[in-house]
Amino acid sequence: MPFLAKDLDTYRRDERLGHRLLTPEERVKLLKPYLPSPPSRSKSRSRTASSAAKAREEKKTRLGVRRFLRRQYHIFVFALIHIFFSVYIRFRQAYHAVANRIYSVYYHHHRTPELIRRDVKGLRRLPKHLSVILTLEDQRRSGAGLERLLNEVADVAAWCASAGIPQLSIYETTGILKGYLKETHDAVSQKLDFYFGSSYPSVSLRAPHMPPLDSTAPPTRTSHSSRTTSSSSSSSSDDDEEGPRKHISIVLISAEDGRDSMVDLTKTLAEMSQRKKLNTADITQELVDAELTESVMSEPDLLILFSPHVELAGYPPWQIRLTEIFHVKDNQGVGYQVFYRGLRKFAEAQMRKGR
């Protein structure tokens, strides 16, 4: 219950005089009407409370009906609120869907890196390390879901490469992509080929605790024998020397790189400590940070969610500390406009780090 203006005024006068106007007892008296009645659960705790509870017990018979009615009334209001809210949220979703559609028409990449680069040019700064959360839809027919996921990964990678973001990490809860590292790499290189033509940027794809897969690595070149990749990849590796923008490194992470990796670290540290190889005082934030950065990934600058609301779904907790989290309300699906708006938001945001 908020305070009545009169009481509030009294209190503030007291406060201004440095609490000399009222004695503590008077202050208690002033506040008493605003406090809830002593909770029944504390009745065993003190005598006064138990007597109060007894008094309430006596009143119960008389107040039973009233309480019942009040409850019904509350349930009714609750239902009313939720009916209105679901109507409201449908409208909101529809509105956002239309707005997103307009955005996506307005900002479209047309699969040309030049357009994306032009979009990005006006931004004050770009994230060095971008992270996205993708979800595997439809887990029963995993074939279709996986196909779609691969496509999304490739799209995002291509946008990043066009915008000039050197590092991308892709989070997907189940970690299904880790089992298809080569396929993912192929999908990404194909997409980049599609965007950039013959001189597409080189890609290195890795997952924690797995060997990285580079586009210059022999297995990829042989697997792409049907296309003209053998020549293009060699030319891209030549470009690689010229500018760092021509390379993109992608990390695939999943739920097990979050809590579980921290638990694994704790296990290792515990074992080392048990063997007296480590003093527990040496476990510092820097040590943990260095280890987790080494084994999983560094802290991303920007995290883009394509889900309708913010829910991290097990994203590595250590790394997300100062990451700017971007999402578009009620958004469905992966779209370039979300990506672009995320970058724009990031360029505007200021970092203060608690200062």
Binding site: M1, P2, F3, L4, A5, L8, D9, R12, E15, R16, P24, V28, L31, L35, P36, S37, P39, S42, R70, R71, H74, I75, V77, F78, I81, H82, F85, S86, G258, R259, D260, M262, K267, T268, L269, A270, E271, Q274, R275, K276, T280, I283, T284, Q285, V288, H309, E311, L312, A313, G314, P317, W318, I320, R321, L322, T323, I325, K353, G354, R355
Partner: protein
């Protein structure tokens, strides 16, 4: 100018008794109604924007913190407002904690002070410290009133970094409300989540690398080995059942632990030699490090014993977690970033959050039901 008049008229109207009465009825109805639905058990607030609020309203920074702190102090029974002119602004302010507890939220966690905040200008840090001390002192002064809420106060964070005079008050406040376990207000005082996680890891490691002495006390390994040796030498068969019947549990677990720890590598023979040499070498028996789970780390966090975090609210439009509750909120916590500054945050900002959360819970339940049916079929 007209803006000022408008706000005057508005505040005059809102503070008139009938309007006040109506608003109160409306509030209690809404709260009563919403508590009919699912209720989050644990809500975290990141109180952000005090300084920006102060700047935009052209008041001192520390005043902004005062208004922000009202979030706690006020609802926590003491309507402390440092200065009157903005009374209406703060009047609507922050019944949020009270709302939470009335709805049935068990734990509310607020981010009051970050370790990074120590980098701020000294006068501001000192001001904040004094503010905290002052409010907590008042809280203790009215200790019996806190009991009415059944609320306990806990201060989480690096307590060793708090100035001693403030720390003393902090400890008194925690002690005074210790017996209230119905609901908890966690104040993260000098806190960062990474520090919390590091501390949790360190304490876990410490726990797993200290030898639990009482575990091995009732049976001396030396005696057992000696007995085994003596049976091996050929005599006293009747001893065997006696030594075997009480020993299996401790000795077997100890052996397991030794195997896994692999550190001491004390085999029977080496121990026999030490026993012979008469040196009572402490046998390090460590719990198996492989048994560490996320729950183990959970138990060592500052928020140990709190239910999982359901709602995370950050005000002032900044869309970052900023080192707050990282471990707790990265799973299925619903995170809300609100545009308003913290001193403006009130019931009317919080209720939509709560309603939306309830709606999503319902939605989720509806989504899961058909899936379960499919699985059964």
């Amino acid at each position: 100018m007209s803006d000022l008049y408008l706000s005057r008229i508005r505040s005059w109207f809102l503070s008139s008794p009938p309007a006040e009465w109506a608003l109160n009825r409306l509030r209690s109805t809404l709260i009563g109604a919403l508590s009919q639905g699912p209720i989050p058990l644990h809500v975290a607030f990141e109180m952000d924007g005090n300084r920006r609020y102060a700047r935009s309203h052209k008041i001192e920074t520390i005043e902004g913190h005062h208004l922000g702190f009202e979030a706690l102090a006020r609802v926590r029974l003491l309507p402390t407002t440092p200065s009157a002119p903005r009374s209406t602004q703060t009047d609507r302010n922050l019944q949020v904690l009270e709302v939470c507890y009335k709805c049935g939220v068990k734990v509310v966690t607020v981010y009051a002070f970050s370790l990074e905040n120590f980098h701020r200008p000294k006068y501001e840090v000192d001001g904040l410290m004094q503010l905290a001390k002052h409010k907590l002192e008042q809280l203790i002064q009215h200790g019996e009133l806190l009991d009415r809420y059944g609320a306990g106060v806990k201060v989480l964070g690096r307590l060793d970094l708090i100035p001693p005079d403030v720390l003393e008050v902090v400890e008194r406040a925690a002690a005074a409300t210790q017996h209230n376990t119905d609901c908890v207000l966690n104040i993260c005082f000098p806190y960062t989540s990474r520090e919390e996680m590091t501390t949790a890891i360190r304490t876990t490691v410490e726990e797993y690398s200290t030898t639990p002495r009482p575990h091995s006390t009732p049976f001396s390994q030396n005696r057992i080995t000696q007995k085994i040796l003596s049976t091996q030498t050929g005599k006293s068969d009747p001893l065997e059942p006696i030594s075997e019947s009480p020993s299996p549990t401790p000795s077997s677990t100890q052996l397991d632990d030794n195997d896994d720890a692999a550190s001491t590598a004390t085999t029977l023979h080496s121990e026999a030699t030490t026993a012979k040499s008469g040196v009572d070498e402490p046998v390090a028996i460590y719990p198996n490090a492989e048994t560490i789970t996320p729950e183990t780390i959970d138990r060592h966090l500052y928020t140990a014993g709190c239910p999982p975090l359901d709602i995370f609210v950050r005000t002032s439009g900044v869309e970052r977690l900023s080192d707050f509750m990282l471990w707790q909120c990265h799973q299925d916590t619903h995170i809300f970033f609100l545009k308003c500054f913290w001193p403006e945050f009130d019931l009317w900002h919080f209720l939509p959050v709560l309603v939306e959360w309830q709606w999503r819970q319902k939605q989720k339940a509806r989504d899961e039901r058909p899936r379960r049916r499919v699985k059964q079929a």
